[in-house]
């Protein structure tokens, strides 16, 4: 039996697998051509961040700082004095936890126009294990006043987001990942900071997902549709500022929520949405997230299964939250 969802999924069916970080790298190169104030800094991970294209094309605007992330954040803050728009690049863990006070004082409190771009976030970094798997970075960054926090879901969206953050003046944390994942959003999409993207309409439950788990939410939505459950799936690519209006409008209709993210439950997207809902429109919420644990080595897909972040987990969470309605 063909469901509405099949038609919807057709719109989003991917043609290829691509990594989000490559979307960042491509956009950065194009931005470099367009805007001579764009500068980039990297802490010895140029290839991993796909910043090598920019570095080769614009050597005078690329700063290799070595394995010295604290210094990188300070230099980035200083480069804004004089009108430069610095993009820093390293893994999510080294972009946030390692340099939290530098970001807090020299970038967030000083409201500097620095774009902190972080790759290899979440469990799907994979084999390197817990030391490198950042599951706290959304929480750390969203707690900082002045900071905008974005977590993109695929290659095209990461590329669009990289362009969008240049048009916004102020500190931004842009979070993306390592593995190749379905590239399903439109290549010419308009990326609006702070605006959720409604992927599917539904009346029974709202699934708010961010990052790599947006695709998992769509897969879950297909399974649910086959069971006659219509999920409204919304991609919350901007965790801060949160799109209160879109969230509340959807929840007013569905009256129950599942959130899905590759992050700790504490401090993540689910936490932000729950805060909003308890204040404005309390409804049952289930959260797909890592629950107060460190990650471990393994293949990305294996880790998502082991830590309960896979498609079946989202399906189960929907069933559970429906029973609480």
């Amino acid at each position: 039996m063909k469901t509405d969802f099949d038609i919807i999924m057709k719109r989003y069916t991917y043609t290829d697998l691509k990594d989000t970080r490559s979307g960042f790298g491509e956009a950065l190169l194009e931005l470099g051509e367009k805007n001579s104030n764009i500068v980039a800094l990297c802490a010895d991970l140029t290839g991993s961040l796909k910043m090598n294209y920019f570095a080769e094309r614009f050597p005078e605007r690329f700063f290799q700082v070595g394995i010295a992330e604290a210094n990188m954040m300070g230099i980035a803050a200083g480069l804004t004095i004089g009108g430069k728009i610095p993009f820093t690049g390293t893994f999510a863990n080294f972009s946030t936890a390692r340099v939290y006070d530098q970001i807090r004082q020299s970038i967030a409190y000083s409201n500097k126009n620095v774009k902190i771009c972080a790759s290899h976030s979440g469990l799907t970094l994979g084999e390197d294990g817990a030391t490198h798997q950042s599951l706290e970075d959304i929480g750390l960054m969203k707690m900082l006043p002045n900071m905008t926090v974005i977590n993109t879901c695929d290659f095209n969206q990461t590329k669009a987001a990289t362009f969008a953050i240049v048009d916004y003046t102020g500190p931004v944390y842009l979070r993306f990942g390592r593995p190749k994942v379905p590239n399903f959003t439109h290549p010419d999409q308009k990326f609006e900071i702070g605006k959720g993207v409604i992927l599917t309409q539904g009346e029974d439950v709202t699934i708010f997902a961010t990052g790599h788990l947006v695709w998992k939410a769509l897969e879950a939505g297909k399974i649910l549709a086959e069971k006659g459950i219509r999920a409204e799936i919304i991609n919350i690519h901007t965790i801060k500022p949160l799109d209160d209006i879109t969230i509340l409008k959807s929840v007013a209709k569905t009256k129950c929520v599942v959130t899905a993210e590759e992050h700790q439950m504490n401090g993540g997207l689910g936490d932000s949405i729950a805060q909003l809902l308890v204040r404005k429109f309390p409804v049952p919420v289930e959260m797909i997230a890592v629950n107060d644990e460190f990650g471990e080595s393994g293949k990305p897909e294996e880790l998502l299964v082991k830590f309960g972040l896979d498609t079946p987990n989202i399906v189960e969470a929907v069933k559970k939250v429906l029973s609480r309605k």
Binding site: V39, E60, R61, F63, V65, G66, A68, A70, N71, M72, M73, G74, I75, A76, A77, G78, L79, T80, I81, G82, G83, K84, P86, D101, Q102, R104, Q105, S106, Y109, S110, N111, K112
Partner: protein, 287 residues
Amino acid sequence: MRKNYFMPEYDNLKKIASQVRRDIIRMVNGASSGHPGGSLGCADFLVVLYFEILKHNPQNFNIDGVDEDIFILSNGHISPAFYSVLARSGYFDISELGSLRKINSRLQGHPSIHEHLPGIRIASGSLGQGLSVAIGAALSKKLNNDKNLVYCLMGDGELDEGQVWEAAMYAAANKVDNLIATVDYNRKQIDGPTDEVLFLGDLKAKWEAFDWMVLEMDGHNIPEIIDTLNFAKENTGFKKPIVIIMKTEMGYGVDFMMGTHKWHGVAPDDEQTKIALEQLEETIGDY
């Protein structure tokens, strides 16, 4: 040849420095908190920098600092000296100095741009970050083909922070030669002498080993400060960053505050303030 310290051409700077020291004592007393020791120690340097050396535009402050010199204060706790010098240079009215550390003030305990106080381009207070910021500002100047310079002041206790040495390594490796850093070498920090808290060793040799050009000066000898800063300026553009190790006395100018680390972060009470002010001539007028 060194100029004569007692020549009248320095009287004006000495007068301003005396007034800045009065401001520091009165501001910190008024707030019943703050850091008078390092502020008094850096007063002469900041006065020379702002009144003699910097090419700057106090009446028309621009945060980007294009076509002017930039100063980054890394040891933000000496904000009383910084605020006084900024106000006395014309960045904002001296009447605002009395609001230090008080509610709704632009003069936060540590410098901030959050309140848009003219003269400040970055927040500082959490130590060790200013040299990195100064390097960034210097790189920005190079990209903008702006030939003006970036100055940075750090405390010596601050050199305990690892980020300073990350920055030191970066600036030398990348030949950031439009930057003049100064270390306030008063050899004291909150918990005691730097020799005891964390021995700095041979500071000059350390910076030289990091491939910086190292100068030394007496931070209370105004002509020597002028000469050294001018010499440093002449030596910019030679593919090396420059650091000046500036010997100072914490609490300089107030006898009971000198020779001890105890006045690093303690405000004088009214009686102590009275005694201190008797030692500091009012020259260009209290705020």
